[in-house]
Amino acid sequence: MFLKEYISDVYGAVKSMAIGMKRTLYYFTHHQEIITQQYPDNRDTLVLPERFRGEVVMAHDEKNEHRCTGCTACELACPNGTIKIITKFDISPEGKKKKAIDKFIYHLELCTMCNLCIEACPTNAIHMAQTFEHSVFDRAQLTKVLNKPGSKLQEGVE
């Protein structure tokens, strides 16, 4: 039956379209379903999960001490050459020479946030910060020195 098929064709087509239109009308009238995050406005309330990998930072305590011994495990673990550690020799009060970091250079522009350096660190000196707004006007600003000036190695960290 050609005519019957023809009519059921038209009916099926119209019905399927009406189903779709009903669904979009539902969303047009139900604004509570909107999921947009108004990002720059919600900066104050924006909470990123604690594991979010934004950039590598080195924790310093209130005495301006860090936990990095300068073992270069992170430097070796990094696939991109993001981390460069420059070491120096500190003279301890007893007159013993001791290896310590001079500069912990971190190239944010090369970093892929793969977390391998954090995994490699034996003393938990570095960790990932939850910052993510990294854009700057000059690429040189992305090369960071992670240890604060004048900081020392924490007591008891080997």
Binding site: G20, M21, T24, F28, H31, I34, Q38
Partner: protein, 358 residues
């Protein structure tokens, strides 16, 4: 109660009292021209923001919300941006046709404004073949698109223009036939007559099922004729990047953009006039109180309300459906819409002759 026709009448009387009739005509034409352009600008802004908001809510997002209250001035900012943008002409383009095409598209859209009845007795030109005039002039819009596609020296544009040509020419048939049903029922081509004939009920309700069928066909056909999704094959951004206006930028692009929205407005206004009673208020049988309240709403509000409802329906289509393929598009017209509307017109003629409509 004051309304638009009274204002027009008093302006006309005042002008007649201060100058000779020839000058009155000139001044009135200028005033109408300025008003038409102003209406276009406002419509463009309103329809763009409306489309973006409708799209946003259907797509569970907020849409423009930065410029002005709730983002309502966003399209104004966009217009300023388009105005100050450089209008490039590609090196290999046919410069004359390339620059002419957007104006053709725009002028065609403008010409269609003439016979529309915006409110009770408020019409630019109530010519006695109004409906014929609209179907005739609206088919000119394809020339602008073909011209743009051919002169751009871009293969995407060319393909888009050719698709558009095939599409508009075929869909005009069923749009015309759908319009014919109302003409048959009314017995007049004049817009004001058609509106008057719906004083006791809209044709959509009075004409039984055939009128509803022809209304649906009309909506589908004009969606295709104005190159709106799901029939936006002329632009088809995932296939032809932007179709016939790939090479246009700045104000020339804005004119195409505006022309599209004006065309949507006009076809919806025509649809509202023919099927939904134009500026006639909504009446139910003999509910005196209800009808009186409805009469109290100004006729221009009725007209624009109905038109914008139809515009919403067309936008609703756009944000729900995928696009058709070119051969399916033509199949739909020649295998489905045209036979159905031809059969439909026979039924409507029968109804009109027998006087079965209300």
């Amino acid at each position: 109660m004051w309304n638009l026709s009274d204002i027009a009448k008093s302006v006309d009387e005042w002008l007649n009292s201060v100058m000779s009739p020839t000058w009155v005509l000139v001044v009135e034409m200028v005033v109408i021209g300025v008003l038409a352009i102003a209406l276009f600008a406002v419509l463009g802004l309103v329809l763009v923001i409306m489309e973006r908001k409708v799209a946003a809510y259907m797509q569970i997002r907020l849409g423009p919300n930065r410029v002005g209250p709730k983002g309502m001035l966003q399209s104004l900012a966009d217009t300023v941006k388009l105005l100050v943008k450089e209008g490039l002409t590609p090196a290999g383009a046919d410069k004359f046709l390339f620059n002419l095409a957007p104006f053709i598209a725009m002028i065609t859209a403008m010409l269609l404004l003439a016979p529309l009845a915006f409110a009770k007795d408020f019409q630019i030109w109530d010519l006695n073949i109004g409906v014929l005039y609209i179907t005739a002039v609206s088919s000119l819009s394809v020339i602008g698109i073909l011209m743009a596609g051919w002169s751009s020296n871009n293969k995407y544009s060319l393909l888009g223009a050719m698709r558009s040509g095939a599409q508009i020419v075929s869909y005009e048939l069923s749009a015309g036939l759908a319009i014919m049903t109302v003409v048959i029922l009314t017995g007049s081509l004049q817009m004001s007559e058609i509106v008057k004939s719906q004083a006791d009920g809209w044709w959509l309700f009075k004409g039984h099922i055939p009128a509803i069928i022809s209304f649906v066909i009309f909506i589908i056909a004009v969606t295709a004729e104005t190159n709106r999704a799901p029939f936006d094959l002329a632009e088809a951004e995932s296939e032809l990047t932007a179709g016939f206006h790939t090479e246009y930028s700045g104000m020339k692009f804005a004119l195409f953009f505006l022309a599209e929205y004006i065309n949507v407005f006009i076809v919806c206004a025509v649809g509202a006039t023919l099927f939904l009673g134009g500026w006639m208020p909504f009446h139910i049988g003999n509910w005196e109180g209800f009808n009186h309240v409805m009469d109290y709403i100004p006729s221009s509000i009725w007209f624009f309300g109905k038109t914008f409802f139809l515009i919403f329906v067309i936008m609703w289509f756009r944000w729900t459906f995928p696009r058709l393929r070119i051969d399916q598009l033509l199949n739909l017209e020649w295998k489905y819409l045209l036979p159905i509307s031809m059969l439909n017109i026979l039924v409507v003629t029968l109804i009109a002759i027998k006087g079965w409509h209300f």
